[in-house]
């Protein structure tokens, strides 16, 4: 009976091939020295049958994976309350837990909707901090878990949680019929979904600022061209049809323009495309390689990689005055810069002099200092979480491409290995609500 049920599930999955089967699984490798002890009590399920997700496990893993929290093992809990009346703070003080999350799940009597009730407590002050009832359907259990995680994270750390966001990444597995895939998953690797797949390489995925659209490079026409795709409708359009390289698309902060690279006029330069008119305007004009544009937070300038001084370095161009300025001077390879929202710190791929390794680093523009965040040899494609807490990036483990993440203060690290093939070019979404 059970096997038949699983076979049925399997068939269903076959009918909906947009769900990827090889998901990434998060593994925390380094946390902060004194993580906040927190108790996430298993949520009671008051309905029949099994739920597809353990909300409390998702929440507890989310918090643990930030490296900032140390969730208490449910096996060690003296009691397992599900609402305020059942909470005895001394039990939690005894376990050394600073915070407590309890809840229960029930099925709405008149519909198939699920109700999740939760409450969050400060154990030391013996105070209920907040709580609510969230209604949704069963397929949204993970979304609800992420939302609760966001609120708990923000309450304790003062930083908005990014658990409800998504990551885009490219996978390559030459044993598949379509070796190249663009996939999207939760930030813990859960619920992977294929957005595009093909026989030719896919590169440089990026998000529109409202999270509704993505732009990326596909070689399906025989050369690199830029495509735009609506995530929910799947509607897809080829934006460029020039000869040469067309690549590195990045949406402007207002979402109306796309910074990009084209070598249609001979060698790679930075261009802007107006997404309403599709008109393309040249921004840089230099015989050296200019590539990897991205926006300053105010949208007035682009930063980009250029090898006009012989080695790749970061430059900035003001879009109004066209004034160009070099920003990096230390190291023989500085590339693919992404500016933090403070406008003063940039995440770059950096190689210092007399060294072979490429590391994700933070450049402070005011002081001119570079802080190296990673230690593996081939680190690239850094993408910043919308709450500026973590940077996700691609690296290599043996001969395989994997994803890693590191906090911007360097204290927390986790990995997102895939079971098979190569994973690369992660792009962290903006906040999606």
């Amino acid at each position: 009976m059970i096997t038949r049920f699983y076979r049925f599930l399997f068939l269903c999955c076959g009918l909906f091939p947009s769900f990827a089967n090889a998901q990434l699984n998060i593994v925390i490798t380094q946390g902060v020295d004194n993580p906040v002890p927190i108790a996430v009590v298993p949520f009671e399920w008051e309905g029949f049958g099994l739920l597809s997700e353990d909300i409390d496990k998702v929440i507890s893993n989310n918090l643990r994976n930030t490296g900032e929290f140390a969730p208490i093992d449910p096996a060690n809990m003296l009691s397992q309350p599900n609402e305020q009346d059942e909470v005895y703070f001394r039990d939690w003080r005894f376990l050394g837990s600073d915070f407590l999350l309890v809840g229960k799940i029930s099925r709405n009597e008149n519909s198939q909707l699920i109700q999740v009730q939760y409450e969050f407590f400060d154990v030391l002050r013996e105070e209920r901090l907040f709580g609510e009832v969230i209604t949704g359907n069963e397929s949204q259990l993970r979304d609800i878990a992420h939302k609760i995680s966001d609120l708990v994270f923000e309450e304790v750390t003062g930083v908005r949680g990014a658990f409800s966001t998504k990551i885009l990444y490219v996978t390559e597995d030459q044993t598949r019929q379509f070796p190249y895939r663009l996939e999207m998953s939760d930030t813990d690797g859960g619920r992977p979904r294929i957005l595009w797949e093909g026989e030719e390489p896919i590169m440089s995925p990026s998000w529109s600022p409202d999270g509704s659209q993505i732009a990326y490079v596909s070689f399906e026409t025989g050369r690199s061209q830029i495509f735009i795709q609506n995530i929910s409708s799947g509607v897809r359009e080829q934006l460029t049809n020039f000869t040469g390289i067309n690549s590195s698309p990045v949406f402007s902060p207002d979402g109306n323009r796309l910074a990009m690279v084209s070598s249609k006029d001979g060698n790679p330069d930075i261009y802007l495309m107006d997404l309403r008119t599709r008109e393309v305007q040249r921004i840089t004009n230099h015989f050296a390689i200019d590539t990897e544009p991205s926006w300053t937070p105010d949208g007035n300038s682009l930063i980009f990689t250029s090898e006009r001084s012989n080695t790749p370095q970061i430059y900035q161009v003001n879009l109004e005055t066209r004034w160009e300025e070099r920003l990096t001077f230390e190291g023989n390879y500085n590339a693919r810069a992404r500016m933090l929202s403070d406008g003063n710190n940039m995440i770059i791929v950096h190689r210092f002099d007399n060294n072979d390794d490429f590391h994700i680093s933070v450049l402070n523009l005011e002081r001119g200092t570079i802080r190296i965040l990673t230690e593996t040899a081939l680190d690239e494609s850094p993408s910043i979480a919308p709450n500026a807490s973590m940077v996700i990036y691609a690296s290599k483990s043996g001969n395989r491409g994997i994803l890693n993440a590191v906090s911007i203060d360097g204290r927390v690290k986790f990995r997102l290995p895939s079971a098979q093939g190569n994973v690369r070019e992660p792009a962290w979404s903006p906040f999606l609500d």
Binding site: S204, S224, S247, V261, T305, P312, A377, E380
Partner: protein, 181 residues
């Protein structure tokens, strides 16, 4: 310095051969239709291509067996390698490309797709640009020899299609390449 002198001598020798080969093809107008067809049908099958081309030239060009072998080997060379972060052509590459140029000039219907690649070190977008520059280096060299630009197409795959997934210097060297297709 010595290398340079040797290289110049080599180039003189190569150009002499090219002239000889050109001579043979212009002398051979009667067969050129067939020649075009043969080459047009196998734009990427270079070993056989070299064989056919030499079949025509052998009688007319007065090439020695050694010269024929050199030309066939040059035409069989369809992958060219580069140093890290560089796009300059080696002397051997230039020598082989002269034969390729000659073949392209003899067969105006023949087209080359020059696919540039990079090793995985450095960022992907920068490597895409580097792959293009390498393919353009070959394109330019062929054009200088007299090949028409509409016979050449440059594509870059950057580091997206390595032939060797390894992380050794030898693997990287194999991946820094331009392939003629």
């Amino acid at each position: 310095m010595q290398n340079n002198k040797f290289y110049k001598l080599g180039m003189v020798a190569v150009f002499t051969l090219v002239l000889a080969a050109c001579q043979s093809s212009t002398d051979d107008m009667g067969d050129s239709g067939m020649d075009d067809m043969d080459n047009g049908s196998m734009s990427s099958g270079n070993n056989t291509g070299g064989g056919n081309a030499s079949g025509v030239g052998d009688n007319m060009g007065g090439l020695t067996p050694a010269q024929i072998r050199e030309r066939d080997e040059a035409l069989a060379t369809t992958v060219f390698y580069f140093e890290f972060d560089r796009s300059d052509l080696s002397a051997e590459a230039r020598q082989a490309l002269v034969y390729h140029a000659n073949r392209l000039m003899e067969n105006s219907s023949l087209r080359y797709r020059l696919e540039g690649h990079a090793d995985e070190r450095g960022t992907r977008e920068y490597n895409l640009a580097l792959g293009e520059r390498r393919a353009q280096a070959i394109e330019r060299y062929l054009q200088v020899q007299g090949v028409s630009s509409n016979q050449l197409e440059v594509i870059s795959y950057g580091e997206e299609q390595p032939v060797d997934p390894g992380t050794s210097e030898a693997a990287y060297a194999r991946n820094r390449r331009v392939e003629i297709h």
